[in-house]
């Protein structure tokens, strides 16, 4: 069974009030993500890969920073999104690739009480090599 109150992978302070409106865009339901583990959506012209792992939803820019392969065609394993192109591994929360010390852009995500998933199409680099 899907837990409607799926957790959200978002840094502290990022989660807005459900009614804040703004630029949040409805992209999926937790139910369908739980079934398929991932989904490619387009928001404001940007391809965004949604992932569902360990009961939480996250969103990354779909185009791999390495060789522009589609991350939504990859897999999630052990808390990492693995690119199908050359097996670069990005932390599902932050997009950080430990081996290469580079970061895949990610997006704020929220899930409402009905299990609807929203993304704010505002790319962020959650971590840099200096962190």
């Amino acid at each position: 069974m899907v837990d409607d109150a799926a957790r959200v992978r978002a840094p502290e302070g990022e989660a807005p009030a459900p009614s804040s409106g703004g630029s949040w865009v409805e992209v999926a339901t937790v139910k369908e993500l739980a079934r398929h583990k991932k989904k490619l959506v387009e928001v404001a012209g940007e391809p965004i890969a949604l992932f569902y792992a360990d009961g939480a939803v996250s969103a990354m820019y779909d185009v791999c920073i390495h060789k522009e392969r589609s991350l939504s065609k990859g897999i999630v394993m052990g808390g990492k999104v693995i690119c199908p192109g050359h097996q670069w591994m990005f932390d599902v929360d932050t997009g950080w690739c430990e081996e290469e010390e580079r970061c895949q852009p990610s997006y704020p995500v929220r899930v409402d009480d009905d299990g609807v998933v929203y993304v704010e199409p505002r790319q962020r680099i959650a971590r840099t090599a200096d962190d």
Binding site: H66, K67, R69, K73, G74, I75, M77, I82, C83, P84, G85, H86, Q87, E99, E101
Partner: protein, 403 residues
């Protein structure tokens, strides 16, 4: 107490070694000694994107600023001429001697050359300088003959087509890549070349390669191919001379245990030059994979710092040819069954190599999403139900859980 780490060779192993040491707060001296004049760079792009369009975005490994900030010394264009095992020091071509607490031999290899074949249009592809020479000759319409249908040869053929050359690929075996993939999957790769517009000459050895003027004539069977440029890709020879002269054990590379230690305290070897005892496969193996070099560089760094670490990765490598992405994980020299998942016709499949039901390796074209799980199946020596393995609707990780 480790104060100084010296790496002989300034390629992938040494770059990862230096990065890992500094990430783990090692504050001693790090010296990377490279025979080539170039800053540390990756070799895989030389036969792929760098050859196709000069894309060097990911080519260089250690930015100048990073080396300055992290106090990593690069001695480039500086061959190492001597290794003193007992005294733990290296001697450089310019006469300097550097003492070290740990020495990492990462001397890599050099292209295997065909005997008695000479000419400035007959090239090998191993170094950045090699790639530069090939770049000059690989003009649109140029006739390119590639000798050797391994991964380097296959990638050069594909890159040649991308650059508008007329390409012929010559392979002694029945199919390209047959040594690694077997005849069945090698035939699929042959079709990939045909689809890409490459002429194939298979199952015949090259009798002679002779350059006269600006034309190279390649004799294959009873046919003579004329070429403007020939690339020979017939493997590499490990650079073992330094280790050999120093009295270290050399046998198809520098012999090391699973912690990458030679028989001499404080002296390690890693990457293409190292013949490494592999606990998963139960024997010593020398491979020429970028990813193994990276992981071994990290293992050596950890061991130098006293964090006991073993290289037991099942291996992984990739190849980009035409518009296709190829990946391989594991190590199979013999198998009794190949299980296909996906479609050969659509060039989107993973082939699993099984021996006595155990997954030994997997090869994917455009199914890289299977490879992480496939590597875990290999590492676990799993015996999955072949029907389930073949079914694209099976989550491969579910096949691991049964172990």
């Amino acid at each position: 107490m480790t104060d100084t780490v010296v790496a002989v060779g300034a390629g992938q192993v040494s770059a990862v070694l230096a990065r890992t040491l500094r990430r783990r707060k090692f504050d001693g001296r790090i010296v990377l000694v490279g025979a080539e004049p170039h800053r540390p760079y990756q070799r895989p792009p030389l036969s792929k994107e760098y050859l196709v369009d000069g894309d060097d975005e990911d080519l260089y490994l250690l930015p100048e600023q990073w080396c300055a900030d992290k106090d990593v010394e690069l001695l480039l264009g500086t061959p190492v001429t001597g290794l003193d095992v007992a005294g733990r020091s290296v001697t450089l071509a310019d006469g300097r001697t550097i003492g070290a607490d740990a020495i990492v031999l990462a001397t890599g290899g050099r292209a295997r050359r065909l005997p008695d074949v000479e000419g400035d249009r007959i090239l090998y592809l191993r170094t950045l300088d090699d790639a530069g020479r090939l770049d000059q000759l690989l003009q649109p319409g140029a006739r390119l003959v590639v000798v050797g249908g391994g991964f380097i040869g296959s990638e050069v053929a594909a890159a040649g087509r991308a650059r508008g050359a007329e390409v012929t690929l010559v392979e002694m075996l029945e199919q390209p890549l047959a040594r690694v993939l077997g005849t069945q999957l090698g035939a699929v790769c042959a079709q990939v070349h045909v689809r890409g517009g490459v002429q194939l000459r298979l199952g015949q050895p090259v009798e002679s390669i002779v350059q006269s003027g600006d034309v190279v004539r390649v004799r294959v069977g009873d046919e003579t191919l004329e070429a403007d440029v020939v690339v020979v890709g017939v493997g590499i020879e490990p650079n073992v001379e330094l280790a050999d002269a120093a009295g270290l054990k050399v046998d198809n590379g520098i012999v090391v245990d699973e912690q990458l230690r030679t028989g001499a305290p404080g002296i390690y070897a890693a990457g293409d030059v190292a013949n490494v005892h592999h606990p998963l496969y139960g024997k010593s193996l020398r491979v020429e994979h970028f990813d193994a070099a990276s992981k071994q560089g990290a293992v050596v760094a950890n061991n130098i710092l006293g964090r006991e670490s073993t290289f037991a990765d099942p291996y992984w490598f990739w190849s980009d040819q035409y518009d296709l992405n190829l990946q391989y994980t594991g190590h199979a020299t013999s198998w009794d069954r190949v299980v296909l998942r996906g479609s050969l016709d659509d060039l989107a499949f993973t082939a699993f190599y099984l021996e006595d039901g155990v997954v030994r390796a997997a090869f994917a074209i455009e199914r890289g999403d299977d490879i992480a799980a496939a590597g875990q199946l290999v590492a676990a020596q799993a015996r999955p139900d072949p029907e389930a393995l073949a079914d694209v609707d099976t989550d491969l990780f579910d096949l691991l859980e049964g172990e």
